[in-house]
């Protein structure tokens, strides 16, 4: 569905280029929920922007490409970086971060819906006919069609978020990218929105890419996930397997540090802090914080390799069983 090949991007700054994504190689399949986790500043949002092809100064692609391909209504399609824009709304749509502030607060929702539905989809329909379809769709999502007459400022944050998701999925795109869809919301509303996303994905059988820093969210909804650290993936694989048996030391410590309701045993955070991307350490970028780091880690960049079928990790020692002692922290 989405294929990323040798992707490297950087931001141009006065102090020189800052490399944000390095040599990413991975695939996202059809009919799955794929999660991207990581701390702030690790490149999650940059990756989504590249997937959605919003490459604007100072962001630039240094090498590699993203290929979006698949089939819709019996017609197959294939778009590459630079052309993905042509597939917007129809084949791929994007729910940006802070989606609550995306809507124009002083325009009624119905005209915002009309504006975003492309001409070719409307096929000479009148505005009323299109709105009829929109309100039917809202009803399917158990939202009230009266919302179309409302102004965004009249709605709560959770309601606005649901309207944005409805807008993004109205054309039944093959891929939906959601950047931190529930970050600013309460747990109860968050759960409702995540349930809505899951239900939509099950109905449309499409691909949903969810970016979140909350590991609990990934555990609940995603099928496969990738954990990013400082501009590249540390580990990627099936979500349940990652939680059960993390391979990369960063993932191990991250999962070990998760507080859980019903368990108040002492937990430790990861010491140190993520490296500045302007001046990254040579070798493995996690090495300065890694308890297992040896000399090789500080010199040689680990390869992102398939440790087990469908399970990738970027660590020199992944899959060698040497790091298993830290697992006790997570279990």
């Amino acid at each position: 569905m989405l294929k990323v090949e040798n992707l490297s991007t950087s931001y141009k700054t006065i102090d020189g280029d800052v490399q944000v994504l390095q040599n990413l190689n991975f695939e996202i399949f059809e009919n799955e929920i794929f999660g991207i986790a990581g701390e702030s500043g690790c490149g999650k949002t940059t990756l989504l922007k590249v997937l959605y092809d919003i490459i604007e100064f100072p962001l630039q692609i240094e090498q590699g490409r993203v290929v979006l391909s698949g089939e819709k209504n019996g017609k197959s399609f294939s778009y590459e970086s630079g052309r993905i824009r042509d597939a917007w709304w129809k084949n791929i749509s994007y729910v940006p971060q802070a989606a609550q502030s995306v809507l124009n607060p002083i325009t009624r929702l119905k005209s915002q819906f009309l504006d975003s539905i492309p001409e070719e989809d409307r096929k000479n329909e009148t505005d009323e006919e299109t709105l009829e379809r929109v309100s039917n769709y809202l009803e399917e999502l158990s939202l009230s069609p009266d919302l179309l007459e409302a102004f965004p400022f009249q709605l709560s944050g959770g309601m606005r978020q649901r309207v944005i998701i409805a807008l993004a999925t109205f054309m039944a795109p093959n891929v939906v990218l959601a950047d931190e869809p529930t970050t600013a919301l309460d747990v109860v509303v968050q759960r409702g929105i995540l349930m809505m996303l899951m239900r939509l994905q099950q109905e449309l059988k499409n691909t949903l890419v969810v970016v979140s820093h909350d590991m609990g969210v990934h555990y609940q909804i995603t099928k496969r996930m990738g954990i990013m650290y400082s501009g590249s993936f540390a580990e990627l694989g099936r979500t349940d397997e990652i939680f059960e048996d993390p391979i990369h030391p960063y993932t191990q410590m991250l999962i070990g540090a998760l507080p859980r309701v019903g368990d108040s045993r002492q937990r430790v955070g990861i010491p140190g802090r993520p490296p500045a991307l302007t001046n990254p350490p040579p070798g493995c970028r996690f090495a300065p914080r890694c308890p297992h780091a040896v000399k090789r880690c500080t010199e040689e960049v680990p390869e992102f390799r398939e440790v087990r079928p469908g399970r990738f990790a970027a660590c020199h020692f992944a899959g060698e069983g040497e790091l298993d002692d830290t697992k006790a922290v997570g279990s």
Binding site: G157, V187, V188, L194, M195, M253, A257, R260, G262, G269
Partner: protein, 328 residues
């Protein structure tokens, strides 16, 4: 009778929305009573969804807002008693930690200037040299040092480090109570635990109580001794944190605890989705009744009173714990 560190007595805060004539009233905090004991430091977490009055309650404790009704008593001195109010004493006793460390520190000022201001202006240190000693000590206790912090600007620190510095700043005055409003929501997952562990550590070291306001129930479970759940301005459940989270008595607390995206336990059942409505603040019966799966006729007629069950208090007609525990 032991003296209480903090007593919040039936506090109500009303905001007016809109104009003077056509405006509406919004009861942001409605008849809330809380207590913190003096003899043993505790971490009390206040949880609830956005708009439930958590921050308003904090601001009243910090004397930023004045309650419309009720009173707050801090180690024996009432907020309403204006004659004996000593602002310096108050600032020495109560210190805040704010949500976003990047906003708490001005980007154009050096971080240490905040620390020196707190130390010198409140009369804790007589000279700069004395201040140096005190500041270094508190910075050490949060895992940093004056040598690292001195002369640097906020942009040179990560969010987690800045949050530690603001905790250190709050500790300079040796407060009795620290009010932390969402202190970890802007901090990364891997650093969050370091901050939360710090609260546990400092509680005993400096004998200081914390009010930890959050919507992150998993860290609340991890650190807190007591927990208060707010819903639409009302305190609906209060008691020992572990007891409440393991076995919630109020249907709303149950909903909240079940909605946490946990690791190791998948969601199964569907959920009654809440829709925030302004008018829910003005409901005269149980505020949670419109969303409550257990609501009966009585819930839709009058508002329940606070009832005590063993060590906790619940504002509900049909609490989910067995009524045999009810205190006589």
């Amino acid at each position: 009778m032991t003296q209480k560190l903090l007593e919040v007595k039936n506090v109500t805060k009303i905001f007016r929305i809109g104009g003077l004539i056509r405006g509406k009233k919004l009861v942001a905090v409605d008849d809330v009573s809380l207590e913190i004991e003096q003899d043993k430091p505790v971490i009390l977490s206040i949880v609830g969804e956005s708009g439930c009055g958590k921050s308003t309650l904090c601001k009243m404790l910090l004397r930023i807002h004045k309650p419309e009704m009720g009173d707050i008593v801090l180690s024996g001195s009432s907020y309403a008693d204006k004659k004996n109010y000593d602002p310096t004493r108050f600032r020495l006793d109560v210190q805040p930690i704010f949500q976003n460390p990047y906003e708490a520190f001005s980007a154009r000022k050096r971080v240490d200037s905040y620390l020196y201001n707190t130390a010198l202006r409140l009369g804790i240190a007589k000279s700069r040299k004395e201040a140096d000693k005190r500041i270094d000590e508190v910075l050490q206790s949060v895992g940093m040092s004056l040598a690292v912090v001195k002369g640097k600007y906020p942009t040179q620190f990560s969010g987690g480090e800045l949050q530690r510095i603001s905790i250190a700043r709050a500790l300079i005055t040796r407060p009795k109570l620290i009010i932390a409003d969402e202190p970890v929501s802007a901090v990364d997952a891997s650093l969050k635990m370091n901050i939360v562990n710090l609260f546990k550590e400092l509680k005993d070291k400096y004998n200081v109580s914390f009010i930890y306001v959050t919507h992150d129930l998993s860290t609340a479970y991890y650190v807190s001794d007591y927990m208060a759940t707010l819903y639409r301005g009302s305190l609906i459940e209060y008691g020992p944190a572990k007891e409440i989270m393991d076995n919630p008595a109020h249907p709303y607390t149950e909903l909240l605890v079940n909605a946490v995206p946990r690791v190791g336990e998948k969601w199964n059942q569907e959920l009654v989705m809440p829709d925030m409505e302004e008018k829910e603040y003005a409901i005269t019966y149980c505020k949670f009744a419109p969303r409550c799966p257990y609501a009966t006729d009585i819930c839709r007629q009058t508002r329940p009173d606070m009832r005590e069950f063993g060590s906790r208090k619940v504002l509900c007609y049909h609490p989910l714990v067995s009524t045999e525990e009810e205190a006589v």
